[in-house]
């Protein structure tokens, strides 16, 4: 099939999973097989058909329809979107395996609804990745918000309802109040919302207005969790862990920072931002978020909450990379989308495995658990190293490029911020590993001395897989770099 039709197919393909899921809903194994079948075939299409075209320099395009004069639904694949789609489709498969283990191990209800909403959210993520203009991106961005709401409120408890309100309130609120306004403004100023290499705003919007427009985009993308619009992320921790893994690695947050990166590179253009210095303030906001979120993470005892604030901090790495408006900065940001996805999903998988295997949620309860769950904690160690940014984990490369970007922009303070953040992340991630392996189990622990007592296999294999994936990415960082340089010719 042609690359263009493959693009359209990839966006709607997860929706076929819904048909399979609904038909097969009575027998759980077949139902999950439906999701997996769709996941593998989606990854096959994305990696097998579209990736080769894009790495060779092609930009497959599919125009679907014109909704309003000047606003059309269209898809065009470029390197950044390619990467995001690969991450989304690949990790969907891994998360589905994990979800099977977790949802059954935890005896969760409403699993059919769960898998259906998952599929819709992935479709939304692919749509965001392949969007050719701001309007298409906005449509699929909202689709992600709406389809992940039932996932966040899955438990159906009062706490889940309140979390859902904050989730929807912040995400819809920022997208309607700021992002939509930014889109209209862009359309009025530039006559189009198409993503174009080099940007579309040069000469059209200047001075303070340019900074305001950037602010509308940055804060309008609530999924990027820039402070002060970050509260939805820790609130969403009430969701089942596969959802948290999905939210924090694949669909939601990456869609957010992807949007910021894409807008910076293809709507504003890094040259425009560099010459007008219009994104300087954004570097400070991102830097503040990085440090503040890391500090809050240090104070959290709940493992998922700590990981949530770690995510907020890591997301602002990518926003910082975009705001630095240098080639290395945006490449580093794009690379960090991949590296952080693998690193963070590993950490969340482990958190869920700990919950299912040992029924523990607080870090203070994890003493000595590492000896009974060595694979889980081992994977956690590798994931932590990636997030901290140490070799041989892939995260070290993205951090390297971000530092390079800060140096290119001569923003030495930002380099310090990045280094300080690494130290802080050591501070909030390593205690988990240290406690698990090196502390003695508490005296009242029944299972102490029982030997290996891991979580169910399907909860342990995925984190190990993604942890190893992080190591693999370390060696393939060069290919990523080559792909991403296509962003800024």
């Amino acid at each position: 099939m042609s690359a263009a039709s493959a693009v359209g197919l990839a966006v709607v393909w997860p929706l076929f999973a819904i048909v399979l899921i609904v038909i097969l809903r009575k027998s759980p194994n077949l139902r999950e097989a439906g999701t997996l079948l769709t996941g593998f075939s989606l990854f096959g299409v994305v990696a097998g058909v579209i990736l080769p075209v894009v790495t060779a320099g092609g930009r497959p395009r599919l125009d679907v329809l014109e909704v309003l004069p000047g606003l059309s639904l269209a898809f065009e694949v470029e390197p950044l979107g390619m990467l995001f789609a690969m991450v989304a489709s690949g990790l969907w498969i891994v998360t589905t395996f994990y979800a099977i283990g977790y949802m059954r191990g935890h005896h969760e209800s409403n699993q059919t609804r769960f898998y259906i909403c998952f599929a819709i959210a992935i479709s939304g993520a692919i749509g965001v990745a392949f969007a050719a203009n701001v309007f298409t991106l906005f449509v699929f961005y909202e689709l992600i918000t709406l389809s992940t709401y039932p996932l966040v409120t899955h438990a159906g408890t009062e706490k889940a309802k309140k979390a859902g309100r904050m989730y929807l309130g912040i995400l819809m609120g920022t997208s309607i109040a700021f992002l939509l306004f930014a889109m209209v403004w862009t359309w009025l100023a530039a006559g189009t919302t198409e993503f174009t290499p080099g940007g579309i705003l040069a000469g059209k919007v200047t001075g303070v207005e340019l900074m305001v427009l950037l602010a509308l985009y940055a804060f309008g993308t609530g999924k990027a969790a820039l402070m002060p619009f970050h509260r939805w992320l820790p609130a969403a921790m009430v969701a089942p862990t596969p959802v948290s893994a999905l939210l924090h690695a694949v669909a939601v947050v990456k869609a957010g920072v992807f949007t910021v990166l894409k807008v910076v590179v293809y709507v504003f253009g890094i040259d425009l931002l560099a010459t007008t210095d219009a994104s300087r303030w954004l570097t400070w906001v991102a830097a503040f978020t990085i440090i503040a979120a890391s500090c809050v993470a240090l104070t959290k005892d709940n493992l998922k909450a700590r990981l949530a604030y770690s995510t907020i901090s890591q997301l602002s790495y990518i926003v910082l990379g975009a705001a630095l408006a240098t080639t290395a900065g945006v490449i580093g940001g794009g690379m960090h989308i991949v590296m952080h996805a693998f690193g963070k999903i590993t950490l969340f998988f482990c958190a869920g495995a700990i919950m299912v295997g040992a029924h523990k949620t607080e870090i203070s309860e994890l003493d000595g658990l590492g000896r009974r769950m060595p694979f889980t904690f081992g994977a956690f160690l590798l994931g932590s190293l990636s997030v901290i940014g140490l070799p041989p984990m892939g995260g070290s490369w993205s951090k390297w490029f971000l530092m390079l970007g800060a140096a290119e922009a001569e923003q030495w303070v930002m380099m310090l911020v990045l280094m300080a953040s690494s130290l802080l992340s050591i501070g909030y991630l390593m205690p988990v590993v240290v406690r698990g392996f090196f502390r003695a189990a508490p005296a009242d622990d029944h299972h102490a001395g029982e030997g290996l007592h891991e979580a169910p296999l399907l909860c342990v294999l995925p984190p190990v897989f993604t942890a190893v994936g992080g190591i693999v990415l370390f060696f393939f960082a060069d290919d990523l770099w080559r792909l991403l340089t296509g962003m800024v010719p």
């Binding site: 329809l65 909704v67 309003l68 004069p69 606003l71 309007f135 906005f138 449509v139 909202e142 709406l146 039932p150 409120t153 159906g156 309802k161 859902g164 309100r165 929807l168 309130g169 819809m172 609120g173 309607i176 109040a177 939509l180 306004f181 209209v184 403004w185 009025l188």
Partner: protein, 500 residues
């Protein structure tokens, strides 16, 4: 045979829009059996839809249609004049009338005694006569006459609600509506005094010749206030919440999508075709009144809707807010703004009628339209609940729904006029819609029905189908916008460019 029929009536289609419902109403009164009366009414309603489609097609291809009633030459006789603006409104009114009528029998059975159904259908058709007449006529006084016809029929329809409060609501609407209609009459009288004609086109031409004249200004004021009362624009909206809440669900669905829309059409027609942009906006700064009023309506309506326990009342206040959007579009007086207002006539009719039909389904199955009746609906009546969610998303303005299309044009219109704070306000009021819609969604999704609640099945097919036609249309026309936006923007350009 079809050709013979066509030759017979092909030229008189505009007049048939008025004559057919009138005659059919009489037939309904003679036919006592409810389902037979319904059948007669359905025949007329769907015929009117076909008629309106043909008229729209004709206007799009050959231009404005002018029909002289009784053969009396224009401008001394009454003229029926259909241009792009009223062709659109006519299509909306006839379609809503037909779709709601399809859902009517089951919905009425829950609220109105069966021996009154034939009278109900007759009154329904009389209301339809009045609305269609208001829309197609090209004569100012004729607008008043048909306005009163439709209003009287709607007072009767509203009073059929099961609660005694339906009677007081109908009387309150009668009082306010009559004052509104009489103000319009007074305004028309002043215009007649100055121009000596009642024909809209002629009046516009004559007014152009008249210089600055206080009578015309006062006439405009009376007409704006009178139409505003019928339109239920804040602060003249007081009759609407009660009327919508206590009327039978079918009546609410019908009136919410038609009566206020036609009143809006009357306001647009008078301001843009008769008084015209220069007099109304540049000399007399009508926008300084309409824009703040529109914004106030948007916020007051949405804010009050958030606190309502009865869902019909909530949607009624939501309608007040949506009318605010339309008035804002009118007040902006540029192409994008007016397009937004006109396309919102179409879009809001689809959304609101669909949502009220969902409430009608709820009433038939659960027996109440309070928020608590929605408990656990996601599980008990999934299709009905899904329709509400989708309609609600459209109200919020999620892209790919009709609500987004209207908001897009209104925001563009505000930015074109250089009023970016207004654009921000439009977006902020959408957020209020998120709150009151999501309140209902949460109850349907999270709360489980009380243990003693009776088992309910999905809504009856005869009601579910029209509901989903309308809600589906909110998505279809949110993606395929060339019809609604095309006609609305062409109408806007025509109105802004001068008399029709």
């Amino acid at each position: 045979m079809m050709d013979a029929l066509w030759n017979l009536i092909g030229d008189d289609l505009a007049a048939l829009q008025i004559a057919m419902p009138l005659l059919t109403a009489t037939v309904c009164i003679l036919v006592r059996r409810p389902m037979l009366a319904w059948g007669v009414a359905m025949f007329n309603a769907w015929g009117a839809v076909v008629n309106a489609s043909i008229l729209l097609h004709r206007v799009l291809t050959t231009g404005t249609i002018s029909y002289a009633e009784g053969g009396w030459p224009v401008p001394w006789g009454i003229e029926l004049r259909i241009d792009l603006l009223n062709a659109l409104v006519l299509l909306v009114v006839t379609c809503i009338c037909a779709v709601v009528l399809t859902a009517a029998p089951r919905a009425l059975a829950a609220e109105v005694p069966e021996d009154k159904h034939y009278l109900f259908y007759a009154a329904y058709l009389l209301c339809m006569t009045g609305l269609a007449g208001m829309t197609v006529t090209g004569d100012a006084f004729n607008i008043f006459v048909f306005l009163e016809i439709s209003s009287l029929a709607s007072y009767a329809l509203i009073s059929q609600g099961p609660s005694p409060r339906a009677l007081t609501s109908a009387l309150q609407y009668l009082m306010m509506g009559t004052i509104g209609g009489t103000f319009i009459l007074l305004g028309i009288g002043m215009l007649y005094m100055v121009t000596g004609t009642l024909n809209i086109v002629d009046m516009a031409n004559q007014l152009g010749a008249v210089g600055p004249n206080r009578t015309v200004l006062v006439g405009m004021a009376f007409i704006c206030v009178g139409a505003g009362i019928k339109l239920a624009v804040f602060p003249l909206h007081v009759w609407l919440p009660n009327a919508y809440t206590y009327a039978p669900a079918v009546v609410t669905a019908f009136l919410a999508a038609t009566a206020t829309k036609v009143a809006y059409y009357v306001l647009v027609r008078f301001i843009y075709s008769i008084f015209q942009v220069n007099f109304a906006f540049e000399v007399n700064r009508l926008d300084a009144v309409l824009i703040p009023v529109g914004i106030a309506a948007m916020f007051v309506g949405s804010l009050v809707a958030i606190f309502q326990d009865d869902l019909k009342r909530m949607l009624a206040y939501s309608s007040v807010a949506q009318i605010g959007y339309m008035v804002l579009g009118l007040g902006l007086a540029n192409e994008h703004g007016l397009t937004g207002g006109l396309v919102h006539v179409f879009n809001h009719a689809l959304m609101k009628c669909g949502l009220f039909l969902v409430l009608a389904c709820l009433l038939v199955r659960v027996g109440s339209t309070k928020l608590a009746a929605f408990a656990g609906l996601g599980r008990r009546m999934p299709l009905t609940f899904a329709a509400f969610v989708l309609g609600g998303l459209s109200l919020i303005g999620v892209p790919m729904t009709v609500g987004f299309v209207s908001k897009w044009y209104l925001v563009l219109g505000a930015l074109d006029a250089g009023m970016w704070p207004v654009a921000v306000l439009i977006l902020l009021s959408s957020l209020l819609a998120v709150i009151y819609i999501w309140r209902v969604v949460e109850v349907g999704y999270f709360r489980t029905a009380a243990d003693d609640a009776p088992e309910v099945s999905e809504a009856p097919f005869s009601m579910l189908l029209p509901t989903w036609v309308l809600i589906g249309a909110t998505v279809v026309f949110g993606v395929w916008t060339s019809l609604s936006v095309g006609v609305a923007s062409a109408a806007a350009r025509m109105l802004l460019g001068g008399a029709s």
